[in-house]
């Protein structure tokens, strides 16, 4: 044992006052060296984050750009307008332009050679509340010959527009009224569909209150690529891209590596392009055959909408849980219920626009729907006040009926009251 003590004493004597040679640079130098060393994993995670975001973007792009498989609906979707529309829906005196040219051919299709000339004679029709302050029903008595309440395809609406029919008014029909038409149709009040949308948000926010307990405000620009799925992927393949700019106010709480934040965000959305190849459904209301509701034509029209884009507001309550494995970088998961509003009107249809695109009609009728976005992302706190965050959100969208809008959430089944004023 004494030998052990002797050995211990010897080691202490040798090392207790031993001083090692320090690296150059003093304390600052050591700090710099450590920072550089620690920066490497950050760089790694940054690259990983970007790679993940790119992967998610690619995945979304692939999904959005994959054509839906042809289904049985498409197989039977070769009916012409005449087959599926009531005869009086097409047989209107205003199918001739001011020079007397017939603008619908025998099958009820628009003659594009005549209609594609820029119609300087007539400015684009603007569906807006401003232009029709009265409810359409209140005008009913003023409108004459073609006053038929019907389920009609957007294509028919388009044809009327292309043929410069004086006014095709999208009607506001009360749900009760609508239900009388066809008991086979789903109740618009109750019906809802779930779709998913993918979105990538980037920029600041949505909330930056992640440093302890703070109250914050943040600007949250975003770019959203949306694509209807499930039902709409089969039916109308609707897809659109929009920009979003929001401002949010919220509060956050941070405990250790975990942070929570929640708030309120007001956003403005601009639809910047409509990318969908659109399949137009023919709704055979005139034939009295509700079975035609699901028949669709095989037309694929890919079109960029020009002119005044659709705009709408949304209000949402983003809630976010973040985990900081490092001091500033964090992973996040979020939920963001969102309600669109203010979507009525404001869609300008240029002369050469083929409004088969159903989203335009949705916008026209309003887009009364709410969404639940579930997302995940990666963020980095440049400072307590500024966070950069990449987030991929997937939206579950539920559409619902708002009083005053007869909006069939099955999207293509848009109930319209077509009123053509007398000649």
């Amino acid at each position: 044992m004494k030998q052990d003590e002797h050995m211990d004493d010897w080691m202490r004597d040798h090392l207790d006052d031993h001083a090692s040679v320090l690296p150059e640079g003093g304390w600052s130098g050591l700090q710099d060296g450590r920072k550089k060393k620690k920066r490497k994993p950050f760089l790694f995670w940054w690259l990983t984050g970007f790679a993940s975001a790119a992967a998610v973007l690619s995945l979304i792009w692939i999904i959005f750009n994959t054509d839906a498989p042809v289904n049985e609906h498409q197989a039977e979707a070769t009916k012409t307008q005449q087959e599926v529309l009531p005869s009086n829906a097409l047989d209107v005196p205003a199918m001739r332009d001011e020079n007397g040219n017939q603008l619908l051919n025998s099958s009820g299709e628009a003659d594009r050679s005549l209609t594609s000339t820029p119609a300087k004679q007539k400015s684009p029709t603007v569906y807006s509340e401003e232009k029709s302050p009265e409810t359409p029903l209140s005008r009913e008595s003023q409108r004459k010959p073609f006053q038929q309440e019907m389920w009609i395809s957007p294509k028919t609406v388009a044809l009327r527009e292309l043929n410069h029919l004086p006014v095709v008014e999208l009607a506001v029909v009360k749900p009760d009224h609508a239900q009388q038409d066809d008991q086979n149709l789903p109740n618009p009040k109750r019906e809802s569909i779930f779709t998913w949308h993918g979105a990538i948000n980037y920029g600041l926010g949505p909330l930056n209150a992640r440093e302890n307990n703070t109250v914050s405000a943040a600007v949250s620009p975003g770019n959203q690529h949306s694509k209807g799925s499930e039902y709409s992927r089969i039916i109308d393949k609707s897809s659109f891209r929009l920009h979003r700019l929001g401002i949010s106010f919220g509060a956050g709480l941070k405990r250790g590596p975990w942070a929570w934040s929640s708030g309120l965000r007001l956003s403005r959305h601009w639809v910047v392009s409509q990318l969908a190849p659109v399949e137009v459904e023919n709704i055979g209301s005139g034939s009295g055959n509700p079975g035609n509701y699901n028949s669709i034509s095989s037309q694929d029209v890919q079109q960029e909408i020009s002119g005044d884009p659709a705009r709408f507001w949304s209000i949402s309550t983003p809630t976010q849980v973040s985990y900081y494995p490092w001091k500033k970088a964090y992973f996040t998961a979020s939920a963001e219920p969102l309600v669109n509003f203010g979507t009525k009107g404001r869609w300008v249809i240029p002369e050469d626009f083929d409004p088969h695109t159903l989203e335009s009609l949705r916008s026209e009728l309003g887009m009364p729907l709410w969404n639940l976005g579930l997302g995940t992302g990666f963020g980095y706190a440049i400072s307590p006040a500024i966070h950069v965050q990449y987030e991929a959100q997937f939206w579950l969208r539920r559409q619902f009926q708002v009083e005053g809008f007869d909006y069939r959430s099955t999207a293509h089944q848009v109930k319209l009251l077509i009123k053509i004023p007398g000649q």
């Binding site: 052990d4 031993h18 090692s20 600052s28 050591l30 450590r34």
Partner: protein, 183 residues
């Protein structure tokens, strides 16, 4: 007398002034404290670490802790002693997290070795040999020999039994002897 020695045994009043300046985040004072104490602290870190890179990490983290908490220094004892305690505690916590429980086995001790003779190696070589010990051995050896903790204290600190601590120390000594015989 070297500059480092002057700082290791300063007048308390000076220690308090230096600590206060560091507490105010005065860069010159922080650098002075670092340059004065770090060579010895680095030696301690090297004993616990497996290599020089780890030792520098340990030194850096230890001094960060020192500068974060230097406002707590009240002048009881020398500033160097306080810094050493902070860094060593930090180092022990740091090293503790790395020690594998499996390394702290409780094998029966062998018979005591032959008589020990002082090896003719310098301090630098001794540190290098300690560094080459398995983590568990190194940890217990440091705590027992240099921090002068009892086996019970080591056991409490590392969450092992006293018997394991003894075994590890015995094996550490044996391994060291073997190593410096070879060297």
């Amino acid at each position: 007398m070297q500059k480092a020695d002057l700082l290791v045994n300063p007048v308390k009043n000076e220690d308090l002034k230096l600590a206060a300046a560091c507490n105010r985040k005065e860069k010159l004072a922080m650098d002075r404290l670092y340059r004065g104490y770090a060579p010895k602290i680095l030696s301690i870190c090297r004993r616990y670490a497996a290599n020089d890179e780890e030792a520098l990490d340990c030194l850096h983290d230890g001094f960060l802790k020192v500068f974060e908490n230097i406002g707590r220094y009240e002048g009881k004892g020398s500033l160097y002693a306080w810094v050493k305690v902070v860094v060593v505690n930090n180092t022990i916590n740091w090293a503790k997290a790395r020690v594998k429980v499996s390394a702290l086995d409780e094998d029966p001790m062998d018979e005591p070795d032959d008589e020990w003779e002082e090896p003719e190696i310098d301090a630098e070589r001794l540190i290098q040999l300690i560094t080459r010990l398995p983590e568990g051995y190194r940890m217990v050896l440091n705590l027992y020999v240099f921090e002068r903790l009892s086996h019970d204290e080591i056991a409490a600190k590392l969450g092992i039994s006293s018997a394991t601590s003894r075994t590890q120390l015995f094996k550490a000594r044996k391994r060291l002897k073997e190593m410096w015989k070879k060297s």
